[in-house]
């Protein structure tokens, strides 16, 4: 999946049935592309001080990616700019050939995970305006995600409420790694606002919150960060469940994005077993943890778990539920999942339809 062996003409991989792609990453062609949406004081601030995140690198990620911008080498737009920065090329390379009826945009490298919360809020609001201006208003298949200053619950909630009823957006986006585990109360205003305006929260892998990315410190390699996203996501989800977020916000729905889904059953079993032992510590929970997960959590598929024996994949999905998976490609990133290849033979038409399109339409309220 890292090296492209041969060029594939887009037309030859088209699939007839419409699909939803629940994880698309739109990029800015240049850093200053955001400036029209950002007050002047922040232009100067960014140029002088940078983003000042919870990690040390002024430019680029702490773990160098496998490819430039973690993206496919064939995804550079002909007009220049990084992969994912051109709507027309995204239409040509992704939306048209794969018949994407719904594409959910998850902007990364926004104002999330910054230490200066005023800057974080300003950049996030700008990114939200930019999604409308550059993407969703230009192609009705694309829907945006409201990004928020994740460490400042009140400002985040205000940004969410500002977008209430705006059908350019179908979810609120958070990242998995924050200053604290996501169930902590500093984040509750975000959940309250999302429930209030009726949007799910997407939790995408990544982010920096100042914690070492393993419970034993910083690992050495990019592969450890990538595989480790599933561990960070599991812990973040355990926190959400154990803090009682779904008791307090019973209509809240959440999507676990790009962190795998294979771990969902075993995490639920482990939570249940230990809840049975230690429930006196968490009396605010009225149900077993796996029941909250079953009712409140959806999962995007990419990168698909890849067992040696494909029947194991079917058993795994049955433990989770065919109604809970949302197909995603992760375009334009290098570990793109090709829609026609992710599911082995033997899936019923109804399950395929749910997996590729209907689950997403229902969750995101797209008719």
């Amino acid at each position: 999946m890292n090296v492209q062996f041969r060029a594939e003409p887009a037309a030859s991989v088209s699939v007839k049935t419409a699909i939803a792609d629940c994880d698309i990453h739109p990029a800015r062609a240049t850093p200053s592309e955001l400036f029209p949406f950002l007050a002047k004081r922040w232009h100067q601030h960014l140029e002088t001080y940078g983003k000042h995140p919870y990690q040390g690198m002024m430019e680029g990620p702490p773990y160098p990616k496998a490819q430039p911008n973690a993206s496919r080498r064939d995804a550079y737009p002909p007009e220049g700019g990084p992969q994912g920065s051109s709507l027309s090329f995204m239409q040509k390379q992704l939306l048209d050939p794969y018949n994407v009826a719904l594409g959910v945009l998850n902007p990364l490298a926004t104002g999330q995970g910054l230490r200066n919360q005023d800057l974080a809020g300003a950049i996030c609001a700008a990114i939200n305006d930019w999604q409308i201006e550059k993407w969703t208003s230009k192609d009705s298949r694309l829907k945006g995600s409201i990004v928020v200053a994740n460490e400042d619950g009140l400002s985040a909630a205000a940004e969410i409420r500002k977008r209430a009823g705006d059908r350019n957006f179908v979810q609120v986006l958070l990242l998995s790694r924050n200053v604290e585990p996501l169930g902590q109360r500093r984040y509750w205003p975000i959940y309250e606002a999302a429930q209030e305006i009726g949007l799910p929260i997407g939790v995408h892998a990544f982010g920096f919150g100042g914690n070492p990315i393993t419970a034993s410190g910083w690992p050495s390699f990019y592969i450890e960060e990538m595989v480790g996203h599933s561990q960070c996501q599991q812990t973040a989800l355990a926190s959400l469940v154990l803090e009682g977020v779904f008791e307090r916000y019973p209509k809240l729905k959440m999507v676990m994005i790009e962190a795998g889904f294979g771990w969902a059953p075993s995490l639920g079993w482990r939570l249940d077993k230990n809840f049975d032992r230690l429930r006196s510590e968490v009396p605010h929970l009225k149900r077993r943890p796996s029941e909250y997960i079953r009712d409140h959590i959806w999962w995007t598929t990419q990168p698909m778990e890849d067992p040696e024996r494909r029947d194991h994949l079917f058993e795994l999905i049955e433990w989770i539920g065919w109604d809970k998976l949302l197909f995603a490609t992760d375009y334009p990133h290098w570990d793109f999942d090709e829609p026609s290849r992710v599911l082995p033979a033997g899936v019923s038409d109804a399950n395929k339809q749910a997996f590729y399109l209907d689950n997403a339409k229902k969750l995101y309220g797209i008719s």
Partner: protein
């Protein structure tokens, strides 16, 4: 229920140090004085609060004192009823939390000597794990070499959450010593609390910390595999203790997929992660984090694609199962024999050796 068979090996027993003062006879004058003069308190880790339900089965909880602190209780509650021929002692005393490597070293030496005198000398079935001061690799190697002369030490014990990921090259002299001396590295649940106990920070609850042990095991396995520990030390065995194992198949599917994608980053990983696990990594049986129905568990065993990975354990005195139900329902007699006898002996080769040096 599935009945245990006689002659098994219990790979995870936890004898408890009654109090830090119990180790004073095993310290030199300087450290005895330090402990006493400075009024040091007992080293109880947050991973296992004494009165937490997980720390002791209700019917294994003594009227007074710490669960697991009495040999007679361990004999009566674990060694005798499960008819084991060997029981491996993994002390979970909180010596890893100490920040000074000198103090950690003194406490580890005392703990290992205490284990010999108070436990191994008193029941011929018992074997021990060498607890090491991981903040100093040099001192850890010295302690391994010192203790390994006693063949009743069959393993080196580390915690799953320490200062650095376990695959880091700084730790490799520990692995070289263990491989050379025929000792597997046991990695047990628990944290030194030198880092937040999850990869996303500090949670609120004890149950949260306990659930998160499984994620810590996952990141450590990634670290050990991709840093190349098993390429350098192909004969080294590692045992994940009290780790759970139902997460293993899907974890490996993900690791395998990324290894195929970015193996250029770690070209020394000369075998697929799946193969490395099958040849070098083992898991203790308890806790079995699975639904009680045998169908699901048997599907999971099938997903693991090997019957050599699990090693029998009671996790005594921790509360992981009730009554005699240490083995999950519905597993075959063949698998019972492998889990209880064959797999532990294949892992802990010192069990077959004479204890006379």
């Amino acid at each position: 229920m599935t009945s245990p068979i006689a002659g098994g090996v219990d790979c995870d027993l936890h004898p408890a140090v009654p109090h830090l003062t119990s180790l004073l006879p095993y310290m030199n004058d300087y450290w005895r004085d330090q402990v006493t003069t400075r009024g040091m308190v007992d080293l109880i880790s947050q991973s296992y609060p004494t009165n937490s339900p997980i720390s002791a089965r209700p019917d294994w909880r003594p009227a007074q004192g710490k669960p697991g602190s009495s040999l007679a209780d361990m004999q009566k509650q674990a060694l005798d009823p499960f008819r084991v021929s060997f029981g491996i002692c993994n002390p979970l005393y909180g010596v890893q939390m100490v920040f000074s490597e000198d103090m950690q070293d003194a406490f580890c030496r005392a703990l290992n000597d205490w284990l010999v005198k108070e436990w191994l000398d008193k029941d011929a079935r018992l074997r021990g794990s060498i607890v090491i001061p991981t903040q100093s690799v040099e001192k850890s190697v010295a302690e391994i070499e010192r203790c390994a002369k006693d063949k009743r030490f069959v393993q080196v014990l580390m915690l799953v959450m320490g200062d650095m990921p376990l695959g880091k090259r700084a730790y490799w002299p520990i692995y070289a010593a263990a491989e050379r001396l025929g000792l597997p590295i046991g990695i047990h649940a628990g944290s030194a609390y030198h880092n937040p106990p999850t990869s996303v920070g500090w949670g609120s609850y004890h149950v949260e910390d306990y659930v998160a042990q499984a994620q810590a095991f996952q990141t450590q396995m990634t670290s050990l595999i991709v840093e190349g520990v098993f390429a350098r030390h192909p004969n080294l065995k590692m045992v994940m203790l009290e780790s759970g194992f139902t997460w293993l198949p899907s974890y490996l599917w993900r690791l395998h997929k990324f290894w195929r994608g970015v193996r250029m980053e770690t070209p020394w990983v000369d075998r697929a992660p799946l193969e490395i696990v099958r040849s070098n990594i083992r898991f203790s049986l308890q806790p079995v984090d699975a639904p009680p129905d045998p169908t699901t568990l048997n599907r999971l065993f099938d997903h693991m694609q090997s019957d050599e990975l699990l090693l029998f354990s009671t996790d005594y005195p921790h509360w992981q199962f009730d009554g005699e139900e240490v083995l999950p329902a519905g597993i075959s007699p063949d698998l019972v024999r492998k889990i209880m006898i064959d797999n532990p002996h294949a892992t802990y080769t010192r069990l077959k050796q004479s204890v006379q040096a």
